[in-house]
Subunit: 490 residues, 2 copies
């Protein structure tokens, strides 16, 4: 049975008009105000003849007006393509063409990129938010309901090979993701979710969606800055924050001997397996860090630690959210507890598929299950442990080596700030692990190798060590291991 | 798109096995234990060849083993018919036949009723819980998933005329009801919901379903007793309780000058419009009473006050839960704010229809909207005010009189404990309002009428006053106005 729900933002503005929806620096916008602003922008978009058949792309920063535009697009029921700021204009133009976007909404800061996009694709209209604001208002019939089956957003993900694929996220995917999270983390009247992750990633967009469903304010940051974040986390204003390993690390460093405000009840940690020393340091400091597992295709977290396990199940990503399921598969068979295999996931939060990619859809979906390409295992109680991206796996002399395991050991060294491990071609072993280190000291390689002995099997000890000023990360601060070797080849 | 979710109880037992699911006197049952018990009973039921095609009825008290049986039936995916204890065997036999139940599960206390049912219907198997427990176990394949479209429960409701109708409640209806409630009331780790309402009513069953979805313990009472309830509400163990006007009234009386424990964050008040003096007395005592509106057909509350409105919007039932909608209709047209009309409701929590009642379904459903038969209005901000059951409306000389309005005034009299008002045939006016009073004093009628003057228009003042020892109520303590006149005719 197709499920329709009341127009999300309209319903929220009706139910709790005066609650704050959005906080940004000193600005506070209520749900009623957010809805009024979104309707105004949707009326201006309607003057461009944008209708529910269309796809519209956005290249926008984490700012209140971006949130307004995103809701305006939902009010028009168009599909929204979220462009990553770090892409080259050529990459952006590809996503615009692949999604058949008719309009790109951007801002002045990106004028260089949009000019190049214009040169590459003469068909697409490009408007800045400022230009939109001077358009006339065309009256619109406001939607009473949203269908959970309709596509809401498209976010491109890059595999290791081939062109990026557009992940289709329905209104239902967002709804179920938010509900699954609420059944694990709960919903409290005083909740405020700090969003310092990009809105063009699912980690950011999912916070906005939860805000509407829960009637909860989002505190928006234009970008992550540890000093501002720590100040907020110590102010008592924030109860939940989404972080990745690198940002959690930076918060920890900044905090030093200080503590977070006790109102902070969850640091939701996603974006890849977290090194154990980091998690232990958090527990020691009384920071309630909840490891989780998810991706664009699962519309954010689909596996997360429960409150009662956050201190005892260190290293695990937890169990599935209530509406979701996980299995570990190897050679087409379900693995026993503790056996490693590919993680496959199922649930109403999982994407309905990739746009225009029959081949990838066939490969990734089977009987309603989605193949993540990640390697992991579940323990006897069903807790998930994520090892690594399958594509990051290093096979050395027939042995499987998970970079995350080696990185974890390296990071536990007191002088190492960040570490990335990748496989390098080797005549004897096929591949061998090599390490990229961020540190304020030049530690001799043999000293580091010695440090790893006893902690790692011999074949896992990095054969070479490179000191670099920073590691390649995506806009969510996720480590991009496949780009590590570029640091020495260039 | 059909939505399936993981087998509810199995998933909960996997996610949080050690959390308490059920508390009853000194007994505590965890989710893992509840699941193991339910599977055991489902294996015993399987030995009776009960399969997912079947309908099974229960005539059971509020006890832990009842909860186990209800979950065992869900594990078998049979439809469960909930028999009200207060029905006559003839009424029960009707519901069994209408639903084509193949089995009735009961207990020794109801042996008199079940013997009569057996005489009326030789086809149905009748087993007590005790008898079930000695059956052999047949192995079963445990369901991985539940479809939200499948029928879970059937509860019969009586209109004022005709035979009772079986309301079909799907797994999805229960799911959406629970989710809607959580998006309004929130979910806290320390929540414990006190269930002193019958499990055979939607008010009770819906608490059990929330327990599974939220991972929240239910404190079960065999029946409502004010002294036990007040003790629990003062112990700090309880955070939420479902009440109706009469039970809230009795709690208030029992409390006298004492207070509830501050952990009690919501007294969820349903089962009909509440008299204002009661609500005001609660607010005065700092009791967080949340008026709500719902019925069997909406799978419990579908409109409820939000936390921030519970103290300021006294008398209103609130706004719809997030997934639901309401409208007020008169003569086929949508009413303006403050205009009275029939309340119609929509949402994925609304029943898919009545069993075997094509006529009633046609009458009650239109374009996905369900006609409640209740009269009410919304104010300028969209808060719902429920006046009365349309069927209880008294039309006197062409004027509409809502019994609840008169009862409210009567109850505000210091010597009146309970009041019920109904229309009595009158040659001049068609109908006139008469009052039934529970009091420890015989107040002269003219004194009461005088008390009403100034508070009520003349045509609303009860023409006659009857003092009775108790008012007719159903098993949820809801006032049955249509049975008031029986008190003087018999």
């Amino acid at each position: 049975m197709e499920t329709t729900l009341p127009n999300f933002l309209k319903q929220r503005a009706y139910l709790t008009p005066d609650r704050p929806a959005l906080m940004f620096q000193d600005e506070i916008i209520t749900f009623a105000q957010l809805y009024a602003k979104a309707i105004a922008v949707s009326e201006q978009l309607a003057s461009l003849n944008i209708t529910e058949e269309d796809t519209v792309a956005v290249l926008l920063k984490n700012r209140p007006q971006t949130v307004v535009v995103l809701h305006a697009l939902q009010q028009l029921r168009v599909r929204t393509v979220f462009l990553n700021h770090r892409l080259t204009p050529v990459e952006m133009a590809y996503q615009l063409q692949d999604s058949q976007s008719v309009l790109l909404i951007s801002e002045d800061e990106f004028s260089q990129a949009t000019e190049q996009i214009h040169d590459l694709d003469k068909h697409i209209s490009i408007f800045t938010i400022k230009e939109l604001s001077s358009l006339p208002h065309h009256s619109l019939e406001i939607l009473d309901e949203f269908s959970l089956d309709d596509v809401c957003s498209i976010m491109y993900t890059s595999g290791t090979t081939g062109k990026p694929k557009g992940v289709l996220q329905t209104y239902g995917n967002h709804w179920w993701s938010a509900i699954g999270s609420s059944l694990n983390l709960g919903i409290r009247e005083d909740d405020v979710w700090l969003c310092a992750v990009p809105l063009f990633h699912i980690s950011g967009l999912s916070i906005l969606m939860r805000s509407i469903f829960y009637g909860m304010p989002v505190y928006l940051m234009e970008k992550f800055q540890e000093d501002v974040a720590v100040k907020l986390l110590q102010s008592g204003k924030i109860t939940i924050m989404s972080v990745v390993t690198a940002t959690m690390q930076r918060i920890l460093h900044k905090l030093q001997d200080e503590k977070l405000h006790p109102n902070v009840r969850c640091m939701l940690l996603g974006g890849g397996p977290a090194p154990r020393p980091l998690l232990e340091a958090c527990v020691e400091k009384g920071i309630p860090v909840f490891q989780s597992y998810g991706m664009t295709e699962t519309s954010s977290q689909t596996v997360t630690l429960a409150p009662e396990d956050s201190l005892t199940k260190i290293g695990s990503a937890g169990k599935p959210l209530f509406p979701a399921q996980i299995r570990i598969i190897h050679n087409g068979k379900q693995c026993k507890p503790m056996e490693h295999g590919e993680i496959i996931v199922k649930g109403p939060n999982i994407t309905i598929g990739y746009l225009n990619r029959e081949d990838a859809n066939k490969e990734s979906f089977q009987d309603g299950w989605f193949r993540t390409g990640d390697i992991g295992y579940v323990d006897e109680q069903g807790y998930l442990y994520v090892m690594d991206r399958r594509s990051d796996l290093i096979i050395s002399g027939g042995e499987n080596i998970y970079p995350a395991e080696i990185e974890e050991v390296l990071i536990s060294h007191p002088d190492i700030w960040e570490a990335g491990v990748v496989g390098m071609d080797d005549e004897t072993w096929g591949k061998v692990p090599v390490a990229f280190i961020v540190s304020n000291k030049q530690i001799p390689a043999h000293e580091l190798q010695q440090y790893c002995e006893g902690k790692l099997a011999k074949y896992k000890i990095p054969k070479k060590v490179y000191f670099v000023s920073s590691l390649p990360r995506n806009a969510s601060n996720k480590l991009l291991r496949r780009k590590l070797l570029d640091l020495i080849q260039s």
